[in-house]
Amino acid sequence: MDAARLLPVLGALLFLLPMLWSPLPGEEPGRSTASDGLYLFAAWAVLIVVAAVLGPRLVSIEQGKRRPGDVSETDDAGD
């Protein structure tokens, strides 16, 4: 469950990473657009795969929790 929470954070980091090696506006680009694209798609694929692995498990956790009629799922309290 915590992995599911961390996944978007990891995704954001991966997607923001290209900013580090990109040159300032106006400078001549020192890296390749095509490989940047490849990198982004690879990061995307990683996210998709991890989400696909996590998804069914989360559902089964969820259902397992709801079955016994447990009313206090406290770990989702917003405040």
Binding site: P8, G11, L16, S22, P25, G37, L40, E73, D76
Partner: protein
């Protein structure tokens, strides 16, 4: 590659479009019917759900992404990366939204916000206005893209200018879309019944767009180039490679698109409102990002190849179409055309449904309610809601078309996608704050949104109309009245920011800050606190709203109200189920707070939370949040909650049992009283004829009576004996029926025949009264297998009862016949005062007679016999409350099987 001729004549293109729409139509129609018969299990598959989410990819992304890539390189990806993050992180926000949506029966994003902040209609109106303002140009953009792509086919690509009938094309597209949306989007009233047909049609369109874009991409990579290697080299060599990553825009756009996927009314509609099962989100969490990735996979290759191969100045927004055309691939171009067409149509359809629901629930309905002079809601609300939704759909599409005409289909539209995103993103603080922060208040949400929307309009939306538009070039340069720090694109004197990011930053920052500040300084009203707790703690169950205390309303009034909104059958079914849950028989539950909450939620599914609350308030008389509710909200710590939930469960169980016992006891007492009364009654009934028989026979025995007189005496004896026999027959009949040892003579008859016979026989009861009988003969001509004599007996009884007891000046009997799931339903309704609520439970008992007035013979066995007859016929007879008179519902099977 020069001199590309159009592959397809214009009229054939129109035919293809029509055929395509017809296919969609059929899909929607078939699915809708399957859904009604509850056969379509596959409808509820997570795949359909995921595909329906693809309306995120509108024509703007289908055609525009390539243009975007041609102009600014990889930046177009941000539009897909944001939603990817949101969906991958579904555990945080989406799951909660969907759960809340289900628990509160949310009908739209405006309804969510309005419901969270104390069912405030002000907020509903605000969100609706923002959404409509932001969506109008977006719809115009879809019309433009369809028109442009028509243009590509209908005339050589070199002369993009004005293909003949451009306005007409857009008009026809708009009219067609409005029609489709009205037909399939406003069938059901309750949002929780969902639009299966539309959703499936949209899933089909999603497949078409994906196939089209992948097809063009594969053709470009392996047809026009030698595979990925060469494309790689071409990208490096092309002007696209010279884009620079602006960190501000990069972060800003990822954030913006993530916000938009949550706040866009159409996305909210498919993600939350149309969601059938929460677990579908788990699938969508990876499948939807996958869909987005596939949609954007070939965008850069297409852009690069288009820039290389097509003549200078060709519109990069249309590369998806023009590249296959230039390559001589007519069929592929047609597929691409249909892909774009799909993207545009699906977006317009869902957006129109979502916006129309909002407009109708938050603007039209409250206004209409305000117009109602009386406290109670009158008239058929259901029809009015549907009508207002239909009109809203037409109006919204018309607005889009008007915008398209006014803007002249210019390039100014191209940037509108992101501008529209910033507009709806103003809802984000109120939404996220609303589901995570209990202290958020209505005032905070309202001021934040108003401020954010104002900044958005001032610094981004209005300037997008161009220098001749509402904001003049002078104001843009020097600020209004020469105040420099108010310049629309350099607020507070901060210059050099990208206009879009500038507007996004200021509007959202100030929006969120005001929202928090006003919320902290203010204090939420009771309803807001209750709703806030229900939203934030949605996963903890228990403690739902709890707002209606003290049942001042009559259950019957509520039934009438909900009948007008939900439809009569559904309301009756709902009330019956609730009554059963309370351990009561019949159709009328006690107006307990729990029941009222349930009813409000149910109504909210049809007309929105605010309107439902207002309607119930009208019936209940004022808003009612009791001190106990507030104490309950204030005190609930986790332990108390858990403990009290258990206690509550037990006490609920206890009170249900107690109620059942009490009712049974009451019934028994009443029955025993009745039995005593009957015994004296029956001995009286038996003794009167007996006495006269004895007296007259004694006279005859004494002899010496003239022949004429003795004949008369004999006649009296005879008729009294007949009366006795009839009474005994009735008693015997009843006991036979009760034992279940009755013999049924089954035969095939029409319902009409039965009713004709019954009406004829019943006309002997009080023949002096003129009765109007309303029937619908065609609905009665259904053959049933049953015991005609027995069933007729029941009808005779009901109709003569109506003739006997109906106290209206112009008595009238209405007979409604329906067929449902292999059973016939016959309602017999008169226009008298009906039967008072406290007696409704007793009328079917033996020897019960409501009043002594109007007694027309009989010992009060009629309805008891009816009930036993119906039980023997495998059916039921019940009293129907809330019909404006005494009403009985007789239900029996179409084909009665012979038992033995």
């Amino acid at each position: 590659m020069q001199g590309i001729e159009p592959m397809v004549p214009f009229n054939i293109l129109v035919l293809v479009c029509l055929a395509y729409v017809l296919v969609l139509f059929t899909v929607a129609f078939v699915v809708e019917h399957a859904a009604v018969r509850r056969r379509a299990r596959w409808l509820h598959s997570p795949l359909v759900y995921t595909l329906s989410l693809s309306i995120y990819c509108t024509a703007w992304t289908f055609f525009g992404a390539v243009g975007y890539a041609a102009r600014s390189g990889l930046e177009f990806l941000t539009i897909y990366l944001g939603p990817t993050l949101v969906f991958v992180g579904w555990w945080w926000v989406l799951r909660k939204l969907v759960r809340i949506g289900k628990a509160q029966r949310v009908t739209s994003v405006a309804d969510l916000i309005s419901s969270r902040y104390g069912k405030s209609n002000l907020l509903g109106v605000l969100v609706t206005l923002i959404a409509v303002t932001a969506a109008t140009p977006y719809i115009a953009l879809q019309l433009q893209s369809v028109t442009l792509s028509f243009g590509v086919f209908a005339s050589p690509v070199d002369t993009f200018g004005a293909p003949p009938g451009k306005e007409a094309t857009a008009l026809w597209v708009a009219v067609g879309l409005a029609l489709f949306t009205v037909l399939f989007g406003t069938r059901n009233l309750d949002a929780n019944e969902r639009h299966h047909g539309v959703v499936t049609a949209i899933a089909v369109e999603a497949v078409v767009k994906l196939a089209a874009l992948l097809g063009v991409g594969i053709f470009v990579v392996w047809g026009l180039a030698d595979g990925p290697g060469e494309i790689f080299a071409r990208i490096e060599a092309s002007p696209v490679a010279h884009w620079t990553l602006d960190p501000g825009r990069w972060i800003g756009l990822i954030f913006l698109s993530g916000a938009a996927v949550l706040c866009l009314p159409r996305m909210f509609q498919v993600t939350v409102v149309e969601n059938v099962e929460e677990s579908h989100l788990a699938t969508a969490s990876w499948a939807f990002p996958l869909y987005l990735a596939l949609m954007s996979l070939f965008v850069v290759p297409i852009a690069v190849t288009g820039l290389m191969l097509l003549p200078e100045g060709a519109n990069p927004d249309l590369f998806v179409l023009t590249l296959p055309l230039a390559g001589g691939q007519g069929a592929l171009a047609m597929l691409a055309f249909l892909g774009g067409f799909s993207s545009a149509t699906s977006m317009v359809i869902v957006a129109a449904i979502a916006l129309a629901t909002m407009v109708s629930n938050h603007i039209v309905m409250p206004f209409w309610l305000r117009m109602q002079p009386s406290r109670a809601v009158t008239g058929d609300v259901r029809r009015i809601v549907l009508l207002s939704r239909r009109v809203s759909i037409a109006a919204i599409v018309a607005l889009g078309y008007a915008y398209y005409r006014l803007s002249g289909g210019s390039a100014a539209l191209a940037a509108i996608g992101l501008i529209s995103f910033v507009g709806v993103a103003q809802i984000l603080p109120a939404m996220i704050g609303g589901i995570f922060w209990r202290g958020a208040t209505r005032a905070g949400a309202a001021t934040g949104m108003i401020l954010g929307a104002a900044i958005w309009a001032y610094s981004l939306y209005l300037p997008s109309f161009g220098p001749e538009g509402i904001i003049s070039a002078a104001v843009m340069e020097q600020g209004p009245w020469g105040i420099g720090w108010l310049r629309p694109q350099a607020l507070f004197g901060i210059e050099g920011m990208d206009p879009l990011i500038h507007a996004l930053f200021w509007s959202l920052t100030l929006n969120a800050m005001t929202y928090c500040l006003v919320s902290i300084l203010g204090f939420p009203s009771p309803i807001e606190r209750v709703q806030g707790a229900a939203f934030v703690n949605v996963f903890e169950g228990g403690l739902t709203t709890g707002g209606w205390a003290g049942g001042k309303a009559e259950a019957e009034d509520l039934l009438i109200l909900s009948g007008r909104i939900l439809g009569e059958d559904e309301a009756l079914a709902f009330f019956q189920a609730e009554a059963r849950a309370q351990g009561k028989e019949g159709f009328l539950p006690d107006p307990t707070p729990e029941f009222l909450d349930g009813l409000e939620l149910r109504l909210a599914g049809s007309v929105g939370a605010a309107a439902a609350h207002a309607m119930l308030s009208q019936v209940m008389g004022g808003e009612t949040v009791s001190v106990e509710d507030l104490v309950a909200v204030a005190n609930e710590t986790a332990q108390v909650m858990e403990y009290s939930a258990q206690l509550e469960e037990q006490s609920e169980e206890l009170s249900r049992v107690a109620r059942q016992l009490r009712e049974a006891n009451e019934k028994l007492t009443q029955l025993s009283e009745q039995k005593d009364a009957f015994l004296s009654q029956i001995s009286h009934e038996l003794r009167t004829p007996m006495t006269s028989i004895r007296a007259f026979s004694e006279i005859l025995m004494e002899g010496g009576v003239p022949a004429e007189l003795s004949a008369r005496h004999a006649a009296i004896i005879h008729s009294e004996a007949i009366r006795l026999t009839r009474l005994l027959d009735d008693l015997l009949d009843l006991s036979v029926l009760e034992n279940g040892s009755v013999r049924l003579d089954l035969a095939l008859v029409t319902v009409q025949e039965l009713l004709d016979r019954a009406l004829l026989a019943a006309s002997e009861t009080r023949p002096e009264r003129r009765f109007i009988v309303r029937r619908d003969l065609p609905s009665e001509s259904i053959y049933v297998t049953t015991d005609p004599d027995r069933l007729t007996q029941v009808f005779i009884n009901l109709i003569s009862n109506a003739r006997k007891y109906c106290d209206a000046d112009q008595p009238e009997v209405r007979i409604v016949v329906r067929q449902r799931a292999g059973r016939m339903i016959v309602d017999i309704i008169d226009n008298g005062t009906g039967i008072p609520e406290e007696s409704q439970a007793l009328i079917f008992e033996k020897f019960s007679r409501l009043t002594d007035q109007n007694r027309a013979g009989g010992a009060g066995l009629g309805l008891a016999i009816c009930r036993e007859v119906m039980t023997n016929l495998g059916g039921t007879i019940t009293y129907l409350p809330g019909q404006g008179g005494a009403a009985f519902r007789v239900i029996f099977p179409l084909r009665l099987q012979k038992a033995a």
